[in-house]
């Protein structure tokens, strides 16, 4: 979403975005950090508070709007995307943020999710991915790994998970990024980028559910292994990672390979990240092996995978209204009611 400037309103502070409602997430839940980063970034965006709308579905994550002192709607499971589409279509002037969970967006709301990205409404979609159904107390979700043991899968899940980034790419998403609750600096950066993008900005946020899925993302978040298992991609920069920034990724045809920068490979040989390159974004999205699958696997990317600019649905929708008015004049109700053929009875 782009920034909506309003020079005359006084600067917002994070405090102005806090509501009088007690935050009810479990202590230690990753949602707290995400709320904090959003409340920190939003005031920087120069959007009048009354023009901000947070719309959520159902889930732990979806309680979010109650904690934001803006306009908000806590709707029904999976439908926040559809409601936000209507709101943005009707009110392009608003800054619309969708808050959703992995179950909310990818399971019950999967249909609306793909169509939102395809239509490219200029909204931000923050998907809190904890790879679990939190609110319903711990069933596997469409992002849980195969074999996951939960209350509904005591013998392990036989379900294959979605790769949300690949799904977003396949849905014609125009801005696709990944971040995590444990990296406030990066998360804030992604939120700023999401806001700046005109079109649907999808940010997948890894979020720890310390009650039902504690530590799922530990391998990406804990100091000890973070550097080996993650890669932070930046536009125009080579793909480098590793404890001492000693590893790089190179493309061998369409196949990414890890090279050791201490053994003769230089950064010049590496894959340079290009956010506009859809094909490469597709390859990057497939860096998705589970961390448990041993060393030597590709690191998990964080950052903006892909961004392009294309027209937004609400712009076309409203342009057609203006065009119709320009061409036919503002509708005349009497002419409409009488139609083309009438007769009079005296």
């Amino acid at each position: 979403m782009e920034t909506i400037q309003s020079p005359e309103s006084p600067k917002l502070t994070s405090k102005d975005l806090v509501t009088d409602q007690e935050v009810r997430w479990c202590p230690g839940c990753g949602d707290y950090s995400i709320l904090k980063q959003v409340q920190t970034v939003v005031p920087e965006l120069d959007i009048p508070r009354e023009n901000l709308v947070f719309i959520s579905g159902i889930g732990c994550s979806s309680r979010f709007p109650y904690y934001m002192e803006t306009y908000g709607m806590h709707s029904i499971h999976g439908r926040a995307t559809a409601i936000a589409s209507g709101l943005k279509g009707a009110r392009p002037d608003l800054s619309v943020w969708i808050i959703s969970g992995d179950g909310d967006s990818l399971s019950i709301g999967g249909n609306h999710f793909i169509h939102l990205l395809r239509r490219n409404f200029n909204v931000n979609l923050l998907m809190f991915n904890n790879e679990i159904y939190g609110l319903t107390k711990g069933q596997y979700s469409p992002t849980s790994e195969e074999g996951k043991v939960t209350k509904s899968t005591p013998m392990g899940s036989v379900d294959h998970p979605f790769n949300p980034i690949a799904l977003a790419l396949g849905s014609e998403g125009s801005f696709i990024a990944r971040s995590m609750d444990r990296d406030p600096v990066h998360l804030k950066d992604m939120l700023r980028r999401a806001n700046a993008h005109i079109g649907t900005s999808f940010v997948e946020i890894y979020q720890n559910c310390n009650v039902f899925n504690d530590g799922t993302f530990e391998i990406f978040t804990e100091k000890s292994n973070k550097k080996e298992s993650t890669i932070y991609v930046e536009n125009g920069k080579p793909l480098v990672f590793g404890q001492n920034a000693d590893k790089g990724i190179k493309l061998d045809g369409f196949t990414p390979v890890i090279v050791n920068l201490t053994e003769g490979h230089s950064a010049n040989d590496l894959w340079i990240h290009d956010e506009k390159d859809l094909v490469k974004a597709g390859i990057l999205s497939r860096f998705f092996e589970r961390p448990a699958e041993g060393s030597g696997h590709l690191p998990r990317p964080f950052g903006v995978f892909y961004e392009n600019n294309r027209s937004c649905y609400e712009v076309g929708l409203n342009q057609q209204v203006e065009e119709a008015i320009a061409k036919k004049g503002k509708g005349n109700l009497d002419a409409l009611l009488s139609g083309r053929e009438t007769w009079e009875i005296k």
Partner: protein, 614 residues
């Protein structure tokens, strides 16, 4: 030759042919001509469910029934006087709806070996030759041959020539009923003006059909149907779905709110979407969503944003919208939900009519979820009724369900349309001032029990709403048991209160007290009206009231019902209003039920009246 000219007061014609034969167009052209001439009329198209059912077969038959007269017309008619059968299947499918002694105009070319076989006639049988149609007046014309002859010099291919066949039939009927053809000639000009050869061909065939009547000896009788005595005013012809679209636009103009329609195509509601999509210059935004859930949800989003929000569908789609309807009710946002009912359950009978979603409308949600329900009684009445639905939604901050059905959605009738300035303004006041010393109270109620509408963009009134139970006035999430009971009752009271603001139930015909009251709702209006007029002519003590406001009922309804010895409720379902009336007013009302995907025949209702009052 010398022909007699007979004056009659009403005629029912059924145009029937293969779906490719252009019978809908033939029917609508004849209808427009009759309307412009000043006849009262009512029409009912009857299409096959499949777009292209196998040619020549019974499932492929498309029909259009027109009832017009110099007297008041209330229904498309029970049995027809004239059956146009373009092929054997059309005859076979419709002969049972033709009156004894009625006229059949048969296209003999449609009764060849192949067509007879496709229509499942026994080997060797051919109804137009074998005398099996004795008792009817049979007029056989080889329409195909005549059309080809008329266009022999046109240079058009056979396929294009044959496509003009329906014009021959139309021309012939215009001759038969002494009609001026200029409206159809004008229509052809507009439709085919850019393709002069096609235009010429259609015009030529139309005129040959007319001239054929003049010169041939087949039909010895011509008929005159004089204009009907209708209330003075300017009229147009209108179909129900069209009237619904216009009513919505009118409400949008009269409320000063742009309209947002979220919809997903479904028969027989789709035409409302089609219609509204044409009127963007009225500020209408139509959004074809990915499914019905998204359709209603997008409308809820638009309503939150301050628009006149509408969603249109039919039974199966309404079922999908159910959860979101509950949300709209909890949010207390205005929303008009349109159900153009069709035969159910499940996919049911998409192209046929039924009134079987009344329970769904009134009761079909989880929790105690009262939503006002109102129903249109005729094609033209869709306009006023949907306008009323918008008024209730906006003035009471509530979703409202508007019920129509396939019969009136596609049927048409003359409409004495209003002037824009005769329509009442719909009052909408967005809240811009805080209603409290402390924080704004989104659920603080006014004397109607309605809540304020503060839309995003309004400074200082930022607030959150949602589907979880909310605290009285603040709208904050609340699990307090007392508060929940209070809120459930509050939402019920709010909807019940609407009854204070809707007109009292009136009678369509008959005294306010008596032996028998016929209580109807929705599209049974026409057949009931016709039957009650007939019955009263015969001296029966019977009255008729048609309910528009089904939930809540008008306040005086209970009193009215108690003034009659008997109450009869005809419905195109197994007795849904019947059971609600019995439940609510503890009266031993009687049902008359038809579940055949077809409207009532006036005669069916008349028989029941006679049975009850004998």
């Amino acid at each position: 030759m010398e022909q007699n000219n007979q004056v009659i007061d009403n005629v029912i014609i059924k145009f029937a042919g293969d779906s490719g034969d252009g019978m809908q167009l033939t029917g609508t052209q004849f209808t427009n001509t009759a309307a412009l001439f000043g006849n009262d009329l009512s029409t009912f198209p009857d299409f096959p469910a499949e777009i292209r059912a196998p040619q020549g077969t019974i499932p492929g038959v498309s029909g259009y029934q027109l009832h017009f007269g110099s007297v008041s017309i209330f229904t498309p008619g029970d049995e027809c006087d004239v059956l146009v059968a373009m092929n054997a299947a059309a005859l076979k499918a419709n002969i049972r709806f033709l009156k004894k002694g009625g006229t059949i105009i048969a296209n003999s070319d449609g009764f060849d070996h192949k067509n007879l076989r496709l229509a499942n006639y026994a080997d060797g049988a051919n109804p137009i030759l074998d005398g099996s149609l004795e008792g009817f007046r049979l007029v056989t014309i080889d329409v195909t041959k005549m059309t080809r002859a008329a266009l022999a010099e046109s240079g058009l291919g056979i396929k294009e020539i044959d496509r003009a066949k329906n014009m021959f039939v139309l021309g012939f009927l215009y001759w038969m009923y002494n009609r001026d053809m200029s409206a159809t000639e004008k229509f052809l000009k507009e439709k085919f003006g850019k393709k002069p050869d096609i235009y010429d061909a259609n015009l030529k065939v139309l005129r040959s059909g007319y001239n054929f009547g003049e010169t041939s000896e087949t039909a010895a009788t011509r008929y005159t149907v004089n204009p009907a005595p209708m209330p003075a005013g300017v009229y147009r012809n209108i179909m129900g779905n069209q009237a619904t679209a216009m009513g919505l636009i009118a409400a949008s103009q009269k409320s000063g709110l742009d309209m947002f329609l979220g919809s997903y195509p479904i028969t027989p509601a789709t035409d409302i979407l089609h219609e509204l999509a044409k009127y963007k210059n009225f500020g209408v935004r139509t959004y074809q969503a990915e499914d019905e859930i998204a359709a209603i949800c997008s409308a809820i989003g638009a309503s939150f944003g301050g628009k006149l929000a509408v969603t249109t569908s039919s039974g199966p789609g309404i079922a999908l919208k159910t959860e979101a309807m509950g949300l709209a009710l909890m949010l207390e946002l205005p929303l008009v939900i349109i159900n153009v009912q069709r035969g159910g359950p499940s996919t049911g009978l998409p192209t046929k009519t039924e009134q079987s979603d009344l329970f769904q409308a009134i009761y079909g949600r989880n929790g105690e979820a009262p939503i006002p329900v109102i129903a249109a009684r005729s094609a033209a009445d869709c306009f006023e009724t949907v306008f009323e639905a918008c008024r209730l939604a906006l003035e009471f901050m509530t979703p409202v369900i508007f019920l129509s059905d396939g019969y009136i959605a596609n049927g048409s009738e003359p409409w004495r349309f209003p002037k824009a300035d005769q329509l009442k303004e719909i009052e909408v006041n967005f809240t811009t001032e805080n209603n409290n010393d402390g924080k704004y109270l989104p659920y603080k109620r006014d004397e109607k029990l309605s809540r304020p509408w503060a839309i995003p963009g309004t400074k200082g009134l930022e607030h959150r709403i949602g589907g979880l139970e909310k605290q009285h006035e603040t709208g904050n999430i609340s699990y307090d048991p007392e508060n929940h009971e209070f809120m459930v009752k509050m939402r019920a009271a709010k909807v019940a209160k609407i009854a204070d603001f809707v007109p009292n139930q009136t009678f369509d015909n008959g005294a306010e007290k008596g032996k028998l009251l016929i209580l109807g709702w929705g599209s049974t209006y026409g057949p009931i009206k016709g039957a009650v007029i007939e019955a009263r002519k015969k001296g029966y003590d019977v009255s008729h009231a048609q309910i528009r406001h089904l939930f809540p009922f008008p306040k005086n309804l209970g009193g009215i019902i108690k003034n009659f010895d008997q109450v009869l409720i005809p419905e195109m379902n197994s007795g849904q209003l019947l059971s609600i009336i019995r439940d609510k007013f503890l009266v031993d009302a009687i049902g008359l039920n038809k579940i055949k995907g077809m409207p009532f025949a006036t005669g069916e209702i008349l028989n029941k009246i006679e049975e009850l009052l004998k």
